[in-house]
Structure formats: C-alpha cells, structure tokens
Amino acid sequence: MVHINLLPDARKDKLRDQSNRQLAISAATTAVIASVAGLVLLVVITQAQSLQIRLLTNSIKDKQAQIAQDVPEAQAIATMQTHLDSLGNLYGQQVKMSKFFTVLGKVSNNDVSISSVSLDAANKLTVTGTARSFNAASKLAEAMKVSNTEIGENASPSNTPDFSNVLMASLSGSEGKASFTITATVATGVTHGK
C-alpha cells in the first residue's frame, strides 16, 4: 500500500516551523527551570548548614554551662591533672647530681678538691677541680664510670651506670697540684628516698 502525503508544502512548512518553535521554547524553559531549581537547592542546603552550625554552637554553650554547674571544681581538677602529667615528666628527667658527690666520697677526699660542678640542658656534667696527682684525678674519673655498677648503695653490674661518656677532658699542672676537668652524662630518673 502506498501512502501519499496530500498536504501542501506550505502547510508542511508551517507544521515543521511550529514544531521547531515548540522545541526551542521547551528547551529554554527547561534550562531556566533547571538553573533556578539548582540554585534553590543550593540555598536550601546552605540554610540547613547554617541551622546545623547554630545548633552545634548552642550545644557547646549548653555543655559548657553544664560543666560549670555539675563540676564547680573543674578548673582545679583540670589544673591538677595537667600539673601531675608535667610533674611525671619533670621527675623522670630528675638528675642524680648527688651521685657524683657519693663517688667523690669513695675516692680520697684529701687527694681531690672540687671547685665547680655544672650541668647543662643535655644533662652533661662538667666537673673542675684540683688533685694531688694525675693518678688521683684519673681515679675519680674511673670511679664515676663504675658508679652504681661497682660502687654505691645496691651496686650491681646489671644496674644502669650513674654516669656515661665519662671523659677526662683536661688534665694539667704538676705533681702535687693538677687541675682537671671531667665531663660525663648523668643518668636521669625518679630519685627514691632511702
């Protein structure tokens, strides 16, 4: 069967024209609606976020007020906790400076005379003094090396030495009066009362 389009060309053109016009208007309308809808969605989300921010701010303020009401000594408690943490570190870094004088007591006091003992931030001990002989000064350095492992209360080879990196940094003068400088690193840790 053969279909014959009997519409005149002018009518066909008008219909195509109408269809194109409808399509153009629909496309423009869709674009405008989609743009406006997208913007509205973004505005709604932004507003919802602002609301959430306000709620969170109020929640924080309420909790702060609750802390002040339920735990009036909160400031003191928090300070105590912070300070106890700090004290733990400070006690842990405590140096046993007195150990040096214990060692000095083991070596003949009359042979060695100490003029200054200083400690730097890295726990490096610097001892300066005079000795009757080079040997006496060396004995002090040797005694420092074995403090807590061979000499001192409860000394044991398994203990950590009180001093490490013991070094006779300088030794000068004559027999009878030798000036010396000893450097060493002092062990740190909590000092227990005994």
Partner: protein, 207 residues
Amino acid sequence: MANKTTAKKVSKKQEFANNLSTSNLIAVSILISILSIVLAIIIGRMLVSSLMLNARVIGKKTTASKQINTNYDNLKGLQSSYNSLGSLRETASNALPTRPELPLLWAMMENIGNSSGVSTSSVTSVVTSDIDAPAGGTVQQLPITVSVEGSYEAIQTYLKNIELSTRPLRVVNVTLSGTNNSVQANLLITTYYQGPADLNVGSEVVR
C-alpha cells in the same frame, strides 16, 4: 478592566512571539538558556564556596562538641578521685604551683638546709613578680641561686635532699670553696611552675 489589560498583555506577547521568525525565536531561546545557565553557574559557585566553608565549620564544631562532651565525662570521672585526694591536693599544687610562689620556695629551701645540717646564707631569684603563668601554658623554668654553708657531708646530704623534694629542683651548677669542715656551696637551681589549665572554649578562624 483588569481582564482587558491581561488580555492585551497576552496578545502582545503572542504577537511578539508570532512576529518573531522561527530562527529568531530559536536564537532568543538559546540566548535565554545560556544566560540562565551562566547566571546559575556564577551564583552557584558563590553558594558552593559558602557551602564548603560551612561544611568545614560544621566539621570543626562537631569535633569541638565531641571534645567538650568527652571533657565533661572525664571531669565527672575525675571529680570523685580529686575529692578523695585530701591533703595530697595541697602537696601536688605545691610541687608545681601556678606561679613562682617565692615565699614558699624560700621556706622550703631553708627547711631542706636545716634538715641537712647546712645553714642557708642567701636565696635569690631573677623573677620580679609573683603572678600566675598564662593559663594553658607549658612548664615555666624558674632559676634561683642558693648559698649554703656546712661540712662536706652536710652539703652532700643537702644535695640528696634537694633531689627528694616534691617540688622538682634541678641543680645546674655547684661551686664549692673552703675546707672539708666548712664548705661554702653556691648552687644555681632550676625549679618550675605552670599556669592553670585553660577550660575556656576558644575560637578558631576557619578559612
């Protein structure tokens, strides 16, 4: 009258649309579409950047909210422990005061000297004011100089007792002079203090 005006307007629009040729109508439609899309992109970009900033603020606020809730729970838990400390509270606060507390410190140095058998001849500090350290700050160092006199053994005991002090005392320098029976020791000691905890809710600029 109003109906007449509306009818007039509609007829004008129709007339305008009808008067436009199809190609012009398509061009106008494309122009309107592009214009609306461009406008939407420009305004949308501003909204998106505001949205992202808000998201970051919400993230920070949520973290802060969780933190303050945890702090509250922790404080409630610590409350009973704190109250049961009794006199130890004073000991702990004297061990690391919130300010230099020089009068207490000098009294403590004298007590340590007396119990060790040395006489304390002077105590000095470079600190000029006795005020609280900043809240939430770190541990502050307080250097002091102490001069004591006594036998060699007494000085030894003094140094040991200094190490046993509840308030941490770090002897950084000792200079000795005199004879075995009367030793003059000048000590440079560092002690510490720390400001109170900072419980205030702070603010932070989110960019």
